[in-house]
Amino acid sequence: MADERIDRALQGDEDAARQLMEAYYPNVIRIVRAHLPSRTLEEDLAQEIFVKVFRNLGSYEAKVPLEHWIARIAVRTCIDRIRYEKRRPEMRFGDLRNEEHATLIELGEPSHEPRPDRASAAKELVVKLLRCLKPEDRFVLVSLDMEGWSVKEVCERTGWRESMVKVRAFRARQRLRRELERLEAGR
């Protein structure tokens, strides 16, 4: 659907550009927060994304909704940033904090009950485990498993094929299951 704010922004109308930012900022910041590599300020990354959006707005051909086009720029920018982070080939039990140890041990017990007070430790453990993955695989897994996006939504926001997303997710989950087993065995 044509958005007259795009034409106005292209003609240098800053009010239209502001309206576009206002409309799409929540989508962009959600993507940034979900995939933000550590030590990166979310607002700086969001700013970088919108600068790219406006510098490339002339090449937008409305083949996909503007929301998806902007999301793709956000996703690419996040993945590029993740690439700069040092990827850890594997994690050791000694790398974990006490709370993370406890969470891992409880998960391994046959009749454990989920403890909501362990949620934050579980999230930190997930973040550490995700660092073992390639940036694209990490992006897919965070989107599907942490953010609750559907495969279709990942495809729309990345431009990747469905089969590619599924393969990446399968491979990444397998890798993390192995990593968890290895951690448990090494404790």
């Binding site: 800053e14 550009a17 502001r18 930012m21 206002e22 900022y25 929540p26 910041i29 959600r30 927060r33 607002e43 969001a46 700013q47 919108f50 600068v51 406006f54 510098r55 969470t103 998960l107 391994g108 989920p114 403890r115 909501p116 362990r118 949620a119 934050s120 579980a122 999230k123 453990l125 997930v126 485990l129 498993d145 942490m146 609750g148 989950r173 993390l176 299951r177 968890l180 087993e181 448990e184």
Partner: protein
């Protein structure tokens, strides 16, 4: 059947995802527009600088070498005590370079 630890861990971790505000902070749009207004061509990227510099690198190196030889030669000419060994060698190299 063995429990899926990854699924259990993720399910627990998702409970900690906070519902943070998503409003655009004040001044954000101004910063973006200021950045967009800056002409990217006016501030060339490192790759553009290299793209321009590399084909000219050999020329710059030759010019710098010739200038160094010229200074050495002039230093020798104006030095009342005559040319020292280094200057003689440089002048000799300059002559060879000129013949080439």
């Amino acid at each position: 059947m063995k429990a899926d630890r990854w699924a259990e861990l993720v399910s627990l971790a998702r409970e900690s995802v906070p519902g943070e505000a998503t409003e655009m902070p004040s001044g954000f749009a101004d910063r973006v527009l200021r950045e967009v207004r800056r002409d990217p061509a006016a501030a060339p990227s490192a790759s553009k600088i290299l793209e321009w510099l590399l084909p000219r690198a050999a020329g710059f190196a030759t010019a710098a070498f010739a200038a160094a030889l010229l200074f050495a030669y002039l230093g020798g000419v104006f030095d009342s005590s005559g040319q020292d060994e280094l200057t003689r060698q440089l002048v000799s190299a300059l002559s060879v370079g000129a013949e080439l």
